[in-house]
Symmetry: C2
Subunit: 144 residues, 2 copies
DNA sequence: CTGTGTGCAAACTCTTTGCATAAGT
DNA sequence: ACTTATGCAAAGAGTTTGCACACAG
């Protein structure tokens, strides 16, 4: 193994190499921000801002490229929430989401807490790729 | 309550007036295309193209304005599907969708055929605005 | 008539792309 | 060295906006 300052950093490099991606500075840094923390739902601009704040010089175009490369490698998943922004989800397993319009925020619904029943058979010749559930939340208004 | 399939043109005018919208030519024409047919899932550009093909001169900006006005009036609903396009759904009742990436098409899931169980309580101070389920479909591969 | 709606084009946001330069192996 | 990734800026898609003119009531 390579002697690096942190185990986790080495793991990130392996993750990238396993996906056939060169572990460049930018990719290692972005992968670190994405995968060493809790599950995240993030748009390209947010990740770019965070990278710059963390002293990682990376261009927005590279962030977009990288996010798509990670998605193709199966490390990320694209989230379907309304609006023009594309959110990427670091949790690629089967789970669902809360979406808050006011704050433009996405949160995981605790795993296993929603079940879908009576899924109908899909149309002829098609199969279900996945099921996404978005629970849209609003501020509770008591006496407006 | 949405009167569905077979309204007359007069009903469309009433629909608009009931929503506080002047029944202008463009709005009557667009409403006709939207509400006199089966439930539709349509993007602004598609509706605009259809209008022009039908000999209704309307600008794209007006189509956008109108779609948003209809949405505010509760006649339409915005669909959350991935991608940068905004789809409007003429069926505002509780139902869910198939989405086919290959053809960029949205279809209704037959009403009542999906039930969601165990919906978790939303976070403090929030309430559920609605629940959207998108069932993503892909072509079945024979060897499965 | 009076006020609202429409059309046009420009502005805006998010995302992608082309090409020269920089970095990784 | 040789190849692939990055950065920049410009282009692209989709959507919104401002303002003069047109139309509905």
């Amino acid at each position: 193994m390579v002697a690096t300052t942190k185990d986790s950093k080495g793991d990130v490099r392996q993750l990238l190499q396993g996906a056939g991606l060169r572990p460049t500075r930018q990719r290692v840094a972005l992968a670190g921000m994405l995968f060493l923390e809790e599950d995240r739902h993030i748009a390209a601009e947010d990740l770019h801002r965070q990278a710059v704040e963390n002293g990682v010089p990376v261009s927005l175009a590279t962030v977009y490229n990288t996010l798509h490369q990670f998605t193709e490698a199966g490390l990320l998943r694209i989230l379907a929430v309304e609006g023009q922004r594309t959110y990427f989800d670091t949790n690629t397993s089967d789970h669902h989401h809360y979406y808050m319009e006011e704050s433009n925020t996405v949160m995981d619904v605790p795993t296993g807490s929603v079940t879908v029943e009576n899924l109908p058979a899909p149309p002829e010749g098609m199969e279900i790729a996945n099921v996404d559930i978005v629970i849209r939340l609003r501020k509770k208004r008591s006496g407006k």
